[in-house]
């Protein structure tokens, strides 16, 4: 237990430092001309994530320190019999734990927001709303932790308050979702693999998000607590949202990172397997959960055996889809590599203006940002950045200030 807590402390310390580094870098090391309204939406998502990492993780760190003191010098922070409280740990952990959900989810939203304009050839709809939504989610995530304790002995008078704050957080989350839908509206889609994963993310996250609104409601929460419904909701948000976004980001940025394209045919097989079997695994769990299936058991009621077996088989096939991905990775990177052009997706993003893979110095000169990042539907729009190398614009006309 002591080594476990020490390990947690080291991880927590690392998370704080990572968030600290990212926040300070984004605030101070933006390229000249990159005003706050020109910051790519992915960077906004990382800034919101970094703020959660730096401010929520210290609480986990302190909670772990108290646990360590309980185990080593015999304090009684979490020992109810000696004046402490086991609920104290739950409070401290979940004060970190719920923002942690957004630490995982927000970069996913950012990846989706970054990829959508590229494959719809349209500006990101309501860019400022998306950025504000991410900051709003980050702020509100500090006020919802008690919904994890609805069943754990929380004062019943506190439940409506935390039900309200939890439902409130669905508003900025909904803004981000609507920004995505607004970008897709009447767009000509290019169904490349990153875009397929982003579309799947929206499908999955809609189901995960809506069931989350149900779960914030105290009566529903109390009814389905500890069952497969919650489990399914969690997987639809984190796996259906984050992991699909992660895959979208990998297929999108791997050519930039490695200078090699991923194989499209194998990539599509991977996508369809992952999307279909993900839904076949977790959607039945909503039904099983509502029929009364509890978590953390290895035997099932006979009337739920069939659906459980179906979900289990689908889960193995979902696992197989990851093997397809790893096969694609090995195939495309080492067995039959195909060189990636500097900008295979015709993106306007800054990173696509340099070579693939990115040289160690990134750009020959520090680029000067000239305009907004997502002006895809404007043929007359100026170049996003002046690279200072006789490229898109005359470097002497732009100040570094």
């Amino acid at each position: 237990m002591v080594s476990y807590l020490l390990g947690f402390a080291v991880i927590g310390f690392g998370m704080i430092l990572a968030g600290f580094n990212q926040a300070v870098t984004i605030i101070n090391y933006r390229a000249p001309g990159m005003t706050w309204s020109r910051v790519p939406i992915f960077v906004w998502s990382i800034l919101a994530t970094a703020s959660l990492l730096t401010l929520a993780t210290p609480v986990l760190f302190a909670g772990g320190l108290f646990g360590l003191l309980d185990k080593t010098v015999q304090t009684a922070f979490y020992v109810t019999e000696h004046g402490g409280s086991s609920y104290l740990w739950q409070n401290l952990f979940w004060f970190f734990g719920h923002p942690e959900v957004y630490i995982m989810a927000l970069p996913g939203f950012g990846i989706a927001g970054e990829i959508l304009p590229v494959f719809t050839r349209r500006p990101l709809f309501a860019y400022k709303v998306a950025a504000a939504g991410m900051i709003g989610v980050a702020l509100l995530s500090f006020f919802v932790w008690q919904h994890h304790l609805f069943q754990s002995g929380i004062n019943p008078d506190m439940r409506p308050l935390f039900m309200l704050t939890t439902e409130l957080i669905s508003i900025p989350t909904g803004f981000i979702f609507l920004v995505g839908l607004g970008t897709l509206y009447r767009a000509k889609l290019r169904l490349e693999i990153p875009m397929l994963f982003v579309l799947a993310l929206f499908f999955n996250f809609l189901i995960g998000g809506v069931t989350g609104v149900f779960l914030s409601d105290v009566p529903v929460n109390v009814t389905v607590h500890g069952g497969f419904f919650v489990l399914s909701h969690f997987h639809y948000t984190i796996m259906g949202g984050l992991l699909f976004a992660f895959m979208a980001g990998l297929y999108y940025w791997l050519p930039k990172m490695t200078g090699k394209m991923m194989n499209k045919k194998i990539g599509k097989v991977h996508f369809w397997m992952m999307f279909v079997f993900f839904n076949l695994t977790f959607f039945p769990m909503f039904i099983i959960g509502l029929l009364g299936q509890p978590r953390r058991v290895f035997t099932y009621a006979s009337n739920l055996q069939g659906l459980n077996d179906f979900a289990s088989v689908s889960a193995f096939l979902l696992g197989l889809s990851f093997l397809v991905f790893f096969f694609n990775l090995v195939w495309s990177m080492w067995i039959k590599p195909e060189a990636a052009p500097a900008n295979p997706w015709e993106s306007q993003g800054l990173e696509w203006l340099t070579a693939s893979p990115v040289p160690s110095y990134n750009f020959e000169r520090i680029p000067v940002i000239l305009t907004d990042p997502y002006r895809y539907s404007e043929p007359e729009a100026p170049a996003y950045a002046d690279l200072g190398t006789g490229g898109p614009a005359d470097p002497s006309t732009h100040s570094m200030a």
């Binding site: 730096t54 108290f66 003191l69 922070f77 401290l92």
Partner: protein, 218 residues
């Protein structure tokens, strides 16, 4: 100063780029110093939350039995020395801004001394507690406070020492320059570091007063 362009493959920096990097570097010290205070606020807030949570729960009427009393003499000494360190750091920074490096130097090294003395007393207090750490909710929080205070004082001392030593190095390496007003990158970076360090020390002083009141007076 770090540089994104300073490597063997890329071209050398232009003066404009160097100035951009310098400004970003100075701003980073400013932002980092305040963000560090934010991190620390949330960590100390966990202790404050735990204190009031266990106090209001009062499980088994064991929040604070009569025999559990904090050693006030130690507390007063530690608090007094911590406050002195904070005041010295603040005054040192002000004197540096007015052009007196020697005043800053004296304040910083004296502050380091008082900070280390406070740390030593905190360690002594923890090793001579008049109650068992797990005898009550209050006793547990008190030990938690003591450990956090040791970490805080150690960080404070480290930051003061490195800043003060840096000041001496800047003076030695830039003999013709005036560290208080020079526009040389090292001097600017040093002054930004002093400002961040002083803000953190003021924060330590203010939170120290709050925690002293909670654990020794309430």
């Amino acid at each position: 100063m770090t540089s994104t362009l300073n490597n063997s493959h890329g071209p050398s920096e232009t003066p404009e780029e160097r100035e951009y990097e310098m400004r970003a570097h100075i701003s980073s010290i400013w932002t980092g110093g305040r963000l560090f205070i934010g991190i620390y606020t949330f960590m100390l807030a966990s202790l404050v939350f735990s204190y009031f949570y266990l106090r209001s729960s009062n499980n088994g009427l064991l929040w604070r039995p009569d025999h559990v009393t904090a050693p006030r003499t130690y507390g007063l000494l530690i608090f007094g020395l911590s406050m002195t360190t904070s005041v010295l750091a603040y005054v040192g920074r002000k004197r540096l801004a007015k052009g007196s490096f020697s005043d800053f130097n004296v304040a910083a090294w004296t502050g380091l001394g008082t900070g280390l003395l406070a740390l030593l007393l905190q360690i002594l207090e923890m090793s001579h507690l008049p109650f068992f750490p797990g005898s009550s909710g209050y006793a547990s929080c008190f030990v938690g406070f003591g450990v956090m205070n040791m970490i805080t004082l150690a960080i404070s001392a480290y930051w003061i020492e490195t800043t003060a030593a840096r000041g001496l190095r800047v003076r030695r390496e830039l003999p013709g320059e005036n560290a208080e007003f020079s526009s040389h990158p090292r001097a600017r970076s040093f002054r930004a570091d002093v400002a961040s360090m002083a803000y953190f020390q003021v924060f330590v002083g203010l939170t120290g007063a709050l925690l002293f009141a909670m654990f020794y007076l309430m």
